[in-house]
């Protein structure tokens, strides 16, 4: 095994006394599609925030011998860890091509930055190809459909050459067809990368997950293959218990699908 894995030990995030993450241990290996599930408020997004320097945390998060908790966000990105956000955030005023090109700018010299772009760099072409947006290259990113924006974000991570991709609900709001395409895309690019997906849709998780980690109340509840998780009694309890407390109308689609998982 090489060093290209993300190691998290005893990670804790404390919001003025409220422990949003409470002593989480995780090892995320290369070449696996790793899914992070759990009810709302379980701390999934906060975990990603902590690893990418958005919220202060204690404990350990290490990638290639680099202590991520003492590194600034943009340095973490430079170390090869990229992420997306729940709401797709692309630069709406720039074209698809410009969005991808801008993502590849980290290692450019100051002089290159001061010049205009000439032609299309090969890695940008490749990313366009991979995420299937070649035909829309000159369109402003703002006019893209929701799913296309998510793909564009993944494309930007590719251009960034992110070795670890932390994706926050990439298929939320996508059609079944788009989900399938996204799943295949993740499968393709995941072979030589570490990919972590936060997801609620259990169908999607079942179809593509190699490893699933269930989080609840800031702690890791269970970890294993899809089958192992589904058989786990504590996981079932958490989801069932949640069902009793919440009224049907307020329950999100994500919660419904997780509840499904509990029964299966």
């Amino acid at each position: 095994m090489n060093d290209d894995y993300l190691e998290i030990r005893g990670l804790t995030v404390d919001f003025d006394g409220f422990k949003a993450i409470d002593g989480v241990d995780l090892t995320l290996l290369e070449g696996q599609l790793h899914f992070l599930i759990g009810p709302n408020g379980a701390g999934k997004t906060t975990l990603v925030d902590a690893v990418t320097g958005l919220v202060p945390a204690t404990g350990l998060a290490r990638y290639r011998h680099q202590d991520l908790l003492r590194t600034k966000s943009h340095r973490i990105v430079r170390a090869g860890i990229g992420r997306t956000f729940q709401t797709a955030t692309v630069f709406e005023g720039l074209s698809v091509l410009q969005n991808l090109d801008i993502a590849g700018g980290v290692h450019r010299t100051a002089w290159k930055m001061a010049l205009a772009r000439r032609g299309t760099p090969s890695y940008v072409e490749e990313a366009l190809e991979t995420v299937g947006l070649s035909g829309l290259r000159d369109k402003p990113a703002g006019v893209l459909a929701h799913g296309q924006k998510q793909w564009l974000e993944i494309g930007m991570l590719l251009v960034q050459d992110a070795r670890v991709m932390l994706l926050d609900e990439p298929v939320a709001g996508m059609s079944a067809e788009e989900r399938e395409e996204t799943g295949e895309l993740l499968g393709r690019i995941g072979r030589e990368r570490t990919i972590v997906v936060i997801e609620h849709d259990m169908d999607f998780v079942r179809s593509y997950a190699d490893v699933v980690t269930v989080m609840h109340a800031g702690k890791v509840l269970a970890e294993g293959s899809v089958a192992e998780i589904q058989a786990n009694a504590r996981v079932q309890e958490v989801y069932l218990g949640r069902q009793h407390k919440t009224s049907g109308a307020e329950m999100s689609s994500g919660a419904e699908s997780s509840q499904e998982a509990g029964h299966a």
């Binding site: 919001f15 003025d16 958005l54 956000f85 729940q86 709401t87 955030t89």
Partner: protein, 294 residues
């Protein structure tokens, strides 16, 4: 002893004045994201209201008491007018409200000049405020104590409004989550207007206190607006306690610096201190934590 008490007491009074001016700003800035550069001119409106009140109510002892609610209403009405005529079209463009209100501020200054004349008008201090008490050699003017009481009163009234009344709950709900407040039936339009009225009215009350220091003049607002904004910035948004501490801190620190150096250096150094302070606490003293990518 007086080398310590004089700046402390005088600075507390300056801080109280800054607090009255900054409370309204913190309210409108915190809730609506509006940066009202014409707030200083509402102070000026309060000062001119005091002058006009003294023309009508010639009993000086009484007139200042009458002037307080009058100034609150006049400045509040001006604020309401500003909200209805201009600001309501510009929510979600906070930086642009800053520039629009710069224009409003210029208009109001010129208007005051044309109506009242460029020469300032006198405001007479009532007899019961015209005196002092000897505190370790500092002849502490009653007027400064009155300013501090006024600030405490304004703060208490505002606190009661926010904590005890249904409007207060609506205001707090709107500050915390505008969209959610709307969905549960709070008319944020009405809440915004009430907030603007109250915030501007407070500036009017501050104007009464200012008029006791320097009478009236058309440029009176510009003297206080920047300091008041620095207080809001240093205090942080969303919590009045930050504004309170920052106001008194700026007032007292400026007074000590004035004592040690001079007024000009005190102004410059206070600015430098605020910038250094923001290095330590970039979001100000107190801030409401929000989730997600801002």
């Amino acid at each position: 002893m007086d080398a310590f008490t004089t700046p402390l007491l005088a600075g507390t009074a300056t801080g109280a004045l800054l607090l009255i001016a900054a409370l309204g700003l913190a309210l409108t800035f915190g809730q609506m994201g509006v940066i009202n550069m014409a707030h200083g001119e509402f102070l000026m409106a309060g000062a001119y209201t005091t002058y006009l009140t003294q023309q009508v109510v010639t009993n000086t002892d009484l007139s200042i008491i009458v002037a307080l609610p009058a100034a609150f209403l006049v400045a509040g009405a001006l604020g309401l007018l500003l909200e209805v005529a201009i600001i309501q079209w510009m929510y979600r463009r906070p930086l642009d409200t800053l520039l629009v209100t710069v224009g409003v501020s210029l208009l109001l200054q010129q208007l005051a000049k044309d109506v009242f004349g460029a020469q300032g008008d006198p405001v007479h201090t009532p007899g019961w405020l015209d005196g002092n008490i000897d505190v370790f050699g500092y002849h502490w003017p009653y007027r400064q104590m009155f300013t501090i009481l006024l600030a405490v009163g304004a703060l208490a009234a505002l606190g009661a409004l926010l904590k005890q009344t249904s409007y207060g709950r609506r205001i707090r709900a709107t500050v915390q989550n505008r969209d959610l407040a709307e969905t549960v039936g709070v008319s944020t339009r009405v809440v915004d207007r009430v907030t603007f009225f109250v915030g501007s009215g407070l500036a009017g009350v501050g104007g009464v206190a200012v008029s006791l220091i320097s009478g009236t003049n058309p440029n009176l607002g510009t003297t206080y607006i920047i300091s008041a904004f620095l207080v809001v910035v240093a205090g942080g948004l969303g919590q009045l306690q930050g504004t309170v501490i920052a106001a008194f801190a700026v007032g007292i620190v400026t007074a000590f610096l004035t004592d040690w150096f001079n007024s000009s250096m005190a102004q410059v150094l206070t600015f430098a201190l605020v910038v250094i302070f923001l290095q330590i606490r970039p979001q100000g003293l107190f801030t409401v934590r929000t989730r997600g990518l801002a």
